[in-house]
Amino acid sequence: MFTTPRLVLIALCAALNVAVGSIVYLLKLPIYLDSVGIILCALLLASDRWAGFACASVAGTISCVIIFLLVNPFFIWFELTVIAIALVSVLLTARFADTLRARPLPNAKFAAIVLICGIVTGVVSAIVSAPVVAYLFGGVTGSGSAFVVAFFLKTGQQLLNATLLSGLTADPIDKVLQVLFAALLYRATPGDFIAMLAAREATSATSAAR
């Protein structure tokens, strides 16, 4: 399963998650894009779902750990969310890989796929994250969604509900953007790289280099 090109893909997608944070900071944009690598990994391995899930999960985990260690101490707690996003990406978003890569771009279909997959990914992400955010951090992490949580708390909602509602408000929007980014990167990726990923090496990754 973990051929050399797939190991490189995992590393690339993990590095992309980490590096994109610096791009967002340089461009002074009020968005996150911390899961683009996970979704992109699933798309690039659309031909092999289990490999796609495994690679996307590992890529997300690695970037989660790196960001946790160096930048944001809240990140490690969202490992389950990483797995959930990988699962949705493989089971749903990657199904439309061919359409997302079609030329010329089928605008309406592309928009619909991005919207639906983004919303579903966002909803799942919010549901999986809510208990973590609520019980570990009382609903407040370092992100701007904390104000949305606070608003719901002020209106009398209980903590878990407030966290969930906040997540359901913000996550779908954020994930639609992330699915859009991942889809655009997927469209642009050269075909020979995708072919390398689909190939199953005759020998394992460990012995191939000798």
Partner: protein, 241 residues
Amino acid sequence: MTPNGAALFVIVMLIGALAASGPLGFSLLYAVLVAFALVEVRAGTTTALTRSAVIVLPLAAFMAAVWIGFVGRSPAEIAAGASGTRAAAAAYVLTVCLRLFLIVAAIQLVLLRFVHLTPLQFICALRLPVTAKRLLALTLSLTETLRQAVDRARTALIAAGVITRRMSLRNLVHGWVLVQTVWLSAITIAVGRMRDKWPIEGTLGRLDDLFQRARTPSLAPGDAVWLSLGVGAALFGLGIG
């Protein structure tokens, strides 16, 4: 101390930070951390604590603004349906910040403890499967590749007028072009290596040889001391509640 022991120590402190809630529990954990800093890290302690403060203080200020300034009561009071007080909210924020600082400081102290090791030396010493070590080495290297590509591509795209130097609507609309350029340039480098360099050199095999040659003990006697202290403090904190 070995990198494996240090990694386990961070995990123990992380669990301990989550488990502790009262002053005594936190005191014990912080005492273990201070002892670790004084014995294992020494001169680097100031740097570690400064970096930890830089990471945690903005988060603390943000949480204080939300909980104390806006919500005005603690989660426990919300769950009980009580009107609550800002003092309780402040106590809650303090508890979360103590946890965060403990975790972040443990990580920073461990990183500084091994600052004399190169990244590959650190990875070599970890008790992990070879594939996992390869992945870590690849990820660290490619992260730097992407960072350099970001800087260079940003120069070119600003020169072309596609994005701007400062915050702008143009960046919101066209910023993804920078992401795409960085991604594609990194793929080109990776494909070139996989097609031309690695097969002819057997480069990944060289890395595996390096992992094999670095035969260090998984754990050292000193690790057991720190792990015991950390576990003890965490259990004590859990028991006290």
